[in-house]
Symmetry: C2
DNA sequence: CTCCTCTCGAACAACCTGTTCAGTTATGTA
DNA sequence: TACATAACTGAACAGGTTGTTCGAGAGGAG
């Protein structure tokens, strides 16, 4: 009995979450209605609202199940080592990620993803000797923006590339600048 | 008679566009309804639909009136010279830009803004000797992402900084990486 | 001043949301 | 297996939104 949950509950939630992914891929997030969702999932209206507050809640439920979006920051190894691994994981589940984070999904999810990445990158820079400041926050924002933009256009298939290529460009683009700033920050430190 | 338009038409459109800005700032784009809009603008429902297809059309109409979002690419001067000017213009009209491009607005507008910037930056890199390729497209995406992220968080007042500071961080973050790639590209060229 | 365009305002069907409730399953367990 | 319970059904509901229609009236252009 996985998750100590009633089998019916598992089945229902699974059906709804699956339906959302399909529908987002077909019509885009905005166009999906709760009615669409319960029709596709073949679930009663009242049942739906017993499990979720609305379609956005389903979206977040799906998002939180993507484990590789929560890696830990590291001070060792190359800068932004998370990048390649993340692109590779995304490649494996491109369909799902596309529905959740792609152009056709909602803005709230995008913001959620950015938040995760923001914390991750800030931690890594702090671990590498940067000191907390407005300036650091700005740099983190740049790096997050660059990565998310790459990810977005990739899953939406506006650009074709391998995870390795994406990783290479990402680090080539922001790496040197960030490295230079880190060097400065280290000089300032004792 | 500016714009060869009936004064009533001018008044109506102006009222509606103004109302959208106010309402987006108050409630966020998603929450604004056409009914809100016509109440605030004090305009008949049928009148509204005589001018716009829906609230998104109003948003785009507003967006297209922001002239400084359409600068020209240049091959002279420092890399990404548009940056400082753009941040300064935005600072002057922060309220408007926030309503249009901020976190509380719609995703479609964001995409529109990204598209403009994408063309601008690609042109600049091409003018500086880069050759068209998938790789260039990836780099452009990174730069656009970094800039838009900075802009977004700034107008939403998640971070406090002067245009000069933003410009400095933006160019420090992506400048070195892009310069390095341009240098490589130039070696390859005749 | 006159004509023509624009606006008004109400009314409309169609859709979506979120809630309720009585009746019907399906589950986990004793 | 039998049963108490939790979950699901399905329909109905009020409240809100959208986009359209129409005749009457007001305002501008010439």
């Amino acid at each position: 009995m996985p998750g100590t949950l009633d089998r019916r509950v598992r089945r229902t939630r699974q059906a709804i979450q699956q339906a959302l992914v399909e529908l987002v891929l077909e019509k885009g997030y905005e166009a999906v209605t709760v009615t669409d969702l319960i029709d596709r999932a073949d679930v009663g209206r009242s049942t739906f609202y017993a499990h979720f507050d609305g379609k956005q809640a389903v979206l977040f439920a799906n998002l939180s199940e993507i484990a590789f979006l929560h890696p830990a920051a590291s001070a060792d190894g190359p800068l932004f080592a998370f990048s390649l691994a993340m692109f590779e994981h995304v490649a494996e589940q491109r369909r799902l990620v596309r529905a959740l984070l792609g152009r056709r999904s909602g803005r709230a999810v995008m913001a959620h993803g950015e938040q995760l990445l923001q914390d991750l990158i800030r931690d890594e820079l702090l671990a590498r000797g940067a000191r907390a400041s407005t300036s650091l926050e700005l740099v983190v924002t740049c790096v997050v923006g660059a990565f998310m933009a790459l990810l977005s256009r990739w899953v939406d298939e506006e650009i074709t590339a391998t995870p390795a290529e994406l990783d290479a460009v990402f680090r080539a683009a922001v790496g040197p600048g960030v490295q230079a700033m880190l060097a400065q920050a280290c000089v300032v430190r004792p």
